[in-house]
């Protein structure tokens, strides 16, 4: 009978889920922050609901069907790790699970052990933390597998904390775990948690996240201070390496067959074929991205510098089109774009909606939330979800 119910539930979920728009990982389902397929709350008119959180986290939310997921941590040592599932309609907790950190939990006071954003393949959620503990749950909160990578590889740690978020490609969850004492990237099978591959990486502190490069053969782009590498997510094989420097904080952005690398301004690589080492297309020193990763949309690149100035530049040659100061200063959260609107939250807790359709960018909506926001928001079905240490909000028109 149980199997009978489960089959029906699966069918029902699939029908319901197909009506919602998913935001599956850090910077969206394609991990590049932009999409044309999601309805947006362009004016940010109202807070549909807000939930007081009793556990802290700097990670961003993700959305699967009618569920929004966040990670968080509690305890004096931040060693109790949580994943919480909320109903997108009501904001009520659907389920919450916790587990104990096995790796190191020390981190800078600004962030927390729950800084990496979780990821989903649409059927499962994989949550990782600064302690390099990883847990995978089904959408109903049943633990499928758990890995204590922080205990397995204890030297791959950083006393300031780790923040790289995983991406999921072809059933493999790819993690970058890079620090000075030890550094590696690892591919875990989403169904079993088994290590599919593990490769050594440059031994440098790295807080940036991997990005997916869609194509005939999806690649995962790994950034680091020593340049970028493209790997085959199925095998971990390094397909090519490029540049000899890169950012250890800001993630790269892929768009069509280009890779926008935030280092010494922006460098743009053209990938003519997945297995061919890319060529440098152009570079500009005057359009630097700070902590927030760049985003590309409709042939334009958008960057936000350390003072909170948003710049629009040509994705073809880097020529600046316009710039716009977002009052309130620094953005650690990365901007996201859909439906001709850019959304970004600054550290002071103001969420902006910038209309990109005109000759110059125009702020058409704001929400002052007045709490420090570090995580990148999620978009789904006409709503934007974002969180601070203390609240999760759903904002709509």
């Amino acid at each position: 009978m149980k199997i009978f119910i489960l089959i029906i539930l699966s069918v029902l979920f699939t029908i319901t889920n197909s009506q919602a728009e998913n935001w599956l990982q850090f910077r969206g389902s394609n991990s590049n922050g932009s999409t044309n397929e999601i309805e947006i709350p362009s004016k940010l008119k109202q807070i549909a609901w807000s939930v007081k959180l009793d556990s802290k986290g700097a990670s961003g939310p993700i959305v699967v069907g009618n569920k929004v997921f966040i990670t968080s941590c509690t305890g004096f040592l931040q060693d109790r790790l949580h994943i919480v599932c909320f109903n997108t309609e009501s904001g009520k907790i659907d389920w919450e699970r916790q587990f104990w950190a096995t790796g190191k939990t020390g981190c800078h006071e600004k962030i927390s052990v729950a800084t990496p954003t979780p990821a989903s393949d649409g059927e499962r959620i994989v949550a990782s933390y600064s302690s390099n503990d990883v847990a995978c749950f089904d959408l109903e909160g049943n633990l499928l597998w758990y890995r204590g990578l922080g205990k397995d590889f204890p030297d791959a740690s950083n006393s300031l904390g780790m923040s790289s978020s995983p991406v999921i490609v072809e059933g493999i969850a790819v993690f970058q775990v890079e620090a000075e004492p030890d550094a590696y990237a690892i591919g875990l099978d989403m169904k079993t948690g088994k290590t599919v591959w593990k490769i050594e990486r440059p031994r440098h502190a790295n807080w940036a996240s991997p990005s997916i490069m869609r194509g005939e053969q999806d690649l995962v782009i790994l950034p680091s201070l020593k340049g970028i590498a493209a790997i085959d997510p199925r095998t971990g094989y390094t397909v090519w390496k490029s540049l000899d420097s890169g950012s250890s904080v800001t993630s790269v952005t892929t768009w069509n067959n280009h890779i926008f690398v935030p280092v010494d301004g922006i460098k743009v690589l053209n990938v003519s074929a997945p297995s061919t080492t890319p060529e440098l297309l152009w570079e500009k020193g005057n359009i630097s991205a700070s902590t927030a990763s760049p985003v590309v949309y409709e042939n334009k690149i958008y960057t936000i510098n350390g003072a909170g100035v948003l710049k629009s530049s040509s994705a073809e040659n880097g020529k600046i089109n316009w710039q716009l100061r977002l009052s309130g200063g620094r953005c650690s959260s990365s901007p996201i774009i859909a439906g001709d609107h850019l959304f970004v939250a600054n550290e002071k807790g103001t969420l902006f909606s910038v209309d990109l359709s005109g000759k110059k960018g125009k702020i058409v909506g704001t929400q002052k939330l007045d709490e420090m926001i570090l995580g990148t928001p999620a978009l789904s079905s006409g709503a934007i979800y974002l969180r601070s240490n203390d609240h999760l909000w759903k904002i709509t028109n």
Binding site: G106, G141, L143, W145, G193, T195
Partner: protein, 379 residues
């Protein structure tokens, strides 16, 4: 769209019919078998596949499973404990959602048995609070010396509140007694500092070094070469022999053992200030700790520099990390002390970074038991 809603309603009805048919709970022997599988999970994901399958049993388990899982925590390792936690929370969550009840007496009994795994006791307590909020006032005041740091912290917070209240009521002597009582259970730096500040305002000084178990006075030697990081792996003379009367070829000169000590409440031994602002350098510090008995201890250590620690010539932990911040109790290293003299050798390495924030050359170290209470050397 109409078809969609019809199909959705039809499926909902079918589910409701299905839910009316009672499910059979997992049997005791099935639960035992599943728990044994969970306990076999080890490092590198070993046992994960089997454990993932075994966990499904707990989706349809009841109170009996809660009892058995809680008992099993005492046999778990760090990996398998997380599978047991998932099993426990799955059953507890289902029970609570279905009946609004949990086995309160059993949970309370498990919590009060201090020999049980501290973390599991705490989770059991938090589930108990969902059905019995009064458990807090009934249990926490008696947990000042509990093996669980979380229970201790709660108990201490209650006493701090009580002491502050007594102060507002002009009951100074009572407040002093309350704060002093709270200090007897305090093991975390934030609470100890908070209490000692309150006592100081009341004219009572606290020997923080003693309370923390700080190792304040060391013999130190160096600098040895560490330009381009060569010194971290290099084996210099103090790693081969400890002879406090000898001199050796150092990085820039002949080096000999000297004393470094600190009066800092938190025990920071400041090499840059007291010995020299060396860059690209290795120093060795040695401490002889006389233990009253053979015992397991936790060495709590903090430094912004790369380091290795040996106890009785055995390397117990190391980390080649420079200037990524430091904090009190930054690293917690399990060690075994024998009865009598135990030699602790700290190798501490400074790199060549020039930034203002990369100039610290220091460490702090204390010795505690499993609860975080200071273990003091005997004279």
């Amino acid at each position: 769209m109409k078809q969609f809603f019809f199909l959705k309603n039809l499926l909902t009805v079918l589910i409701l019919i299905g839910l009316l048919i009672p499910e059979e709970s997992a049997h005791a022997d099935q639960i035992d078998d599943a728990i044994q599988i969970l306990l076999k999970v080890k490092a590198n994901g070993e046992g994960n596949s089997e454990a993932g399958k075994a966990l499904k049993l707990f989706q349809n388990a009841d109170q009996l499973a809660i009892t058995k899982v809680l008992k099993a925590f005492n046999q778990s390792n760090d990996y398998s404990a997380n599978y047991l936690l998932a099993a426990f929370e799955t059953v507890a969550d289902n029970m609570l959602k279905k009946s609004g009840k949990l086995p309160q007496k059993m949970l309370e009994h498990f919590i009060l048995e201090t020999g049980n795994m501290p973390r599991a006791r705490r989770v059991a307590y938090e589930w108990l609070l969902k059905v019995d909020p009064g458990a807090e006032t009934r249990m926490i005041p008696n947990m000042l010396k509990d093996p669980s740091p979380e229970f201790r912290r709660d108990s201490i917070e209650l006493l701090i509140k009580q002491g502050k209240k007594e102060l507002t009521q002009d009951k100074k002597e009572k407040a002093i007694a309350t704060f002093q009582k709270s200090l007897t259970g305090a093991v975390d730096e934030d609470q100890i500092s908070k209490i000692s500040k309150q006592l100081k305002k009341l004219g009572i000084e606290t020997n923080l070094q003693k309370h923390f178990g700080i190792l304040a006075s060391w013999k130190i030697i160096g600098p040895f070469e560490n330009r381009e990081g060569v010194g971290y792996q290099a084996v210099y003379a103090p790693e081969k022999e400890i002879d406090l009367s000898k001199t050796y070829d150092g990085k820039e000169m002949q080096v000999k053992w000297q004393t470094i000590s600190t009066e800092d409440d938190h025990g920071i031994l400041n090499i840059a200030k007291d010995i020299g602002k060396y860059k690209g350098a290795v120093m060795y510090a040695v401490y002889e700790f006389k233990s009253s008995q053979s015992q397991d201890v936790i060495i709590k250590f903090g430094t912004p520099n790369a380091w290795k620690i040996r106890v009785n010539d055995e390397l117990i932990s190391s980390l080649e990390e420079y200037h990524r911040g430091t904090s009190f109790d930054q690293h917690k290293i399990p060690a075994k002390f024998k009865a009598g003299t135990n030699r602790i050798l700290v190798k501490i390495c400074q790199n060549e970074q020039k930034q203002d924030w990369a100039q610290q050359f220091q460490f702090q170290i204390r010795v505690c038991d499993q609860t975080g209470t200071a273990v003091l050397a005997v004279k």
